[in-house]
Symmetry: C2
Subunit: 123 residues, 2 copies
């Protein structure tokens, strides 16, 4: 008697394509990490800011983390770093136009997060 053949599970690939996963993952990776969201939002609202100004606006972040996160964002062309020739030197960090486009997604995350919190915490 023939074995009952179990067909391999293959879903409609349209929504499971590899590069679709990658695109979403890229976005998540950029936004992941403890301070990225706050940092982006702070620069979005605050415009151009200096290193210490940012540190004061984000309570709890240390210089090491702040420097690292700023590097990451700069490498992704999301912020620009400008050394001003003042004395002592100051550095101006600012979201690029591309960086500002992230705020749309962040706002959606806020909206969903609020709904989610009500759902999980129960009203």
């Amino acid at each position: 008697m023939a074995m009952k053949r179990k067909e391999p599970i293959v879903l409609d690939t349209a929504c499971l394509r590899e590069d679709e996963h990658i695109a979403a993952r890229d976005t998540i990776d950029i936004l992941s990490g403890k301070w990225k969201l706050q940092l982006i939002t702070t620069l979005h609202c605050g415009g151009a800011l200096q290193f210490m100004e940012i540190q004061r606006l984000i309570p709890g972040i240390g210089p090491k983390m702040l420097a690292r996160e700023l590097h990451d964002l700069e490498a992704n062309l999301l912020i620009s770093r400008t050394v001003m020739d003042t004395r002592p030197v100051t550095v101006r960090y600012e979201l690029t136009p591309h960086g500002h486009t992230l705020q749309g997604i962040i706002n959606e995350m806020r909206a969903w997060g609020r709904i989610h919190r009500r759902m999980v915490m129960g009203r």
Copy 2:
């Protein structure tokens, strides 16, 4: 002579409110982790699936990680877990309606991620 008073930096708080940060962070936390996005998308496209079916659909994931991620999502009311009384037992995992609402954000992440990739990789 009076010192030049540096005003403390206080930005319009509307976009920097603590609970706004938290809401966005909740969303990120749910979507962070190596397999969450793929897992949600797989269940979104595939409907109800068994443990092993999911494992086959997500190449590389091990049973430990899969179990953990499923637990996380269930704790957040994003998926439902149903034990079927078959022999041997099988378990059916399925996105809840609330879970399906995540796909909107995920799709936006994909769209942004594609744009971003073109921007960084240069064309």
